[in-house]
Symmetry: C2
Subunit: 334 residues, 2 copies
DNA sequence: TTGTAGGCGTTATCAA
DNA sequence: TTGATAACGCCTACAA
């Protein structure tokens, strides 16, 4: 762990100037003899260029940051996993920020972009406030947002299509003869919670089903909250299907249905959202609306790379197609 | 996204020298008037210090890297999740490297430490070769390894205790009356595979159970491999319990047992390893040996911080205590 | 083709 | 208390 050599060290060793060393290292036209001398010296000393110095000169860090609420959430894991190879292949390192869905933390991350430790930021805020929009506008580096932002926001944007996604799920349930389709949602002041509430209502309308407030319950996006919300819902009405705003909520719903002696899917069909790795593990395996977490992550990384290549291009909006993955919780046994 | 102000900009605005600006910003003794002038100017211009320049000067990046095989693996997710707050609180950013268990990729990460983009590296290699050990010795920054390294390796080391962990599991199975305890392992040339193979053999010996090669099967660490391996094992013998080298393998085993019409745990009890988030989701819920992924991540981060604070301290070895989490796949219904 | 020198934004030393 | 100035390691005119 000795102090690493610099171009100065190499220059001395090779008996040339630091400029020549730099030229050789960057493949600029140099005499054969110099090239050899420098290469040998660099090799012998185990030279590795200092990326910090390089960054200071080039004002490029080759780092991209990703900020999300919680790396434990399988949705974000899928995003990170998909981003990684895209960024890596382009020579970028990935910095991870976990914000615990704390708004001040998120804003802090945006503000700190001014420190120029990263060339750009991909962020997936669970709530979207006025202050976020201001921060996006003032950001000192390109920002890509995963989750819908209002038109005109000066950032690239990757969106899920909850509307179509829930429509797919409700069509499926309708086709199976279900008419009392409950909805266990997350908090309405979150980006996904709000989107999914609208999507559920729209889908009901389009299917010509009545809007029954008794069929809607709200909790947080975790298993225990999903279970509690489902318990509250079952206490006052009897649905023949439950649409859940994410897979964790759906797992909680399965827990409660089982405890209540209700069969899934015979008595109550259950659909999750996000199609996480948990869905095929659950019992019964969980039908889930895949909103394309991995693809959203991949597309966000690609948008970032494009943006870094051309900072003046118009902000872009990319919408990822949802897909319904049918499993045992709505159909048959498995 | 205009060009950000530097201390030079502020110095001009405030009518002082850059030295004074730096002093104010770093809280060094300065006259009241200068402090005020600088603060006002910095505020008005929205100044944010450039971390790259700071790093060049201080040769500190305030970044720590973590290299693992695959961020999709729940074990690593647990580690990352636990590291994050420790590093963050200490003012460090976390860089993620996903190596796909590719040895050259891992060695590359180690070599690139010479670029000084991070102050240290936490690495969890799935295989450990001679070249790894050499690379550890030559690393240009502190390295913390998660997974046992030979004594004398000049790195801090966080270990799981597979031996005790498997012993806990086999004791549990033994106490339940199981005597033909099969073992579905991962590849023997991996760090966990090798450790768990030894641990299983030792536990059998200590329990006075015979070593029956027919009871051992090897696949890769994924669900499908676990299923295939279990199928091979069942084709030649009939265990009354299956110890699995990780939770994914155990899920595969559950799949096959169910398909074969064998009841879990009545006919065959199943135990996983790592106690990932999947264990409580599986059906039946999966008894699993918790090797403390989260704690290993946390401890690794702490060792790194200590090392960065005192580079000359002796290399440390930390072993994390295992714990058996009993669920439905070995006992009762749940 | 090569070397000298200036600068990227900070911090820190040294006189004044 | 303050300002001029020299690093940190690299890249790149510009001159030779």
């Amino acid at each position: 762990m000795r102090q690493g050599p610099t171009i100065t060290t190499i220059a001395e060793r090779a008996g040339v100037s630091i400029a020549s060393v730099s030229r050789v290292l960057n493949g600029l036209p140099t005499s054969e003899a110099t090239v050899r001398a420098v290469r040998v010296a660099a090799e012998e000393l185990g030279y590795v260029p200092n990326s910090v110095a390089r960054s200071l000169k080039s004002s490029r860090t080759n780092q991209v940051a990703f900020a999300m609420a919680d790396i434990g959430n399988p949705t974000y894991v899928a995003m990170v996993r998909a981003m990684q190879p895209v960024l890596k292949d382009a020579g970028f390192r990935l910095i991870l920020h976990s914000t615990d869905a704390d708004i001040d933390d998120e804003l802090d991350v945006l503000r700190r972009l001014g420190e120029r430790y990263a060339d750009g930021l991909i962020i997936s805020p669970i709530r979207l406030t006025e202050r976020h929009l201001e921060a996006f506008a003032e950001a000192r580096a390109p920002v890509v947002v995963i989750g819908s932002v209002p038109d005109g926001t000066p950032v690239d944007n990757v969106r899920a299509d909850s509307r179509t996604g829930l429509r797919l799920a409700l069509d499926h349930l309708y086709a199976l003869g279900r008419r009392r389709i409950g909805f266990v949602n997350g908090p309405l002041d979150t980006v996904p919670g709000a989107a999914r509430a609208r999507a559920y209502a729209d889908a009901l309308t389009e299917l010509g089903l009545p809007h029954d407030p008794a069929l809607i319950e709200i909790g947080d996006f975790y298993r225990a909250d999903g279970a509690a919300a489902t318990r509250r819902l079952l206490a006052r009405t009897r649905p023949d299907a439950l649409m859940c705003a994410n897979d964790l909520i759906a797992l909680g719903a399965l827990d409660v249905l089982r405890a209540e002696g209700l069969r899934v899917p015979e008595d109550v069909a259950v659909v999750g959202t996000d199609d996480t790795d948990l869905a095929p593990v659950a019992w019964p395996t969980l039908t889930s609306v895949a909103l394309g977490s991995a693809e959203r992550g991949r597309r966000a990384a690609e948008l970032m790379l494009d943006r870094l290549a051309d900072g003046d291009a118009e902000p872009r909006v990319v919408t990822v197609e949802p897909r319904l993955v049918v499993r045992g919780s709505t159909k048959g046994t498995s």
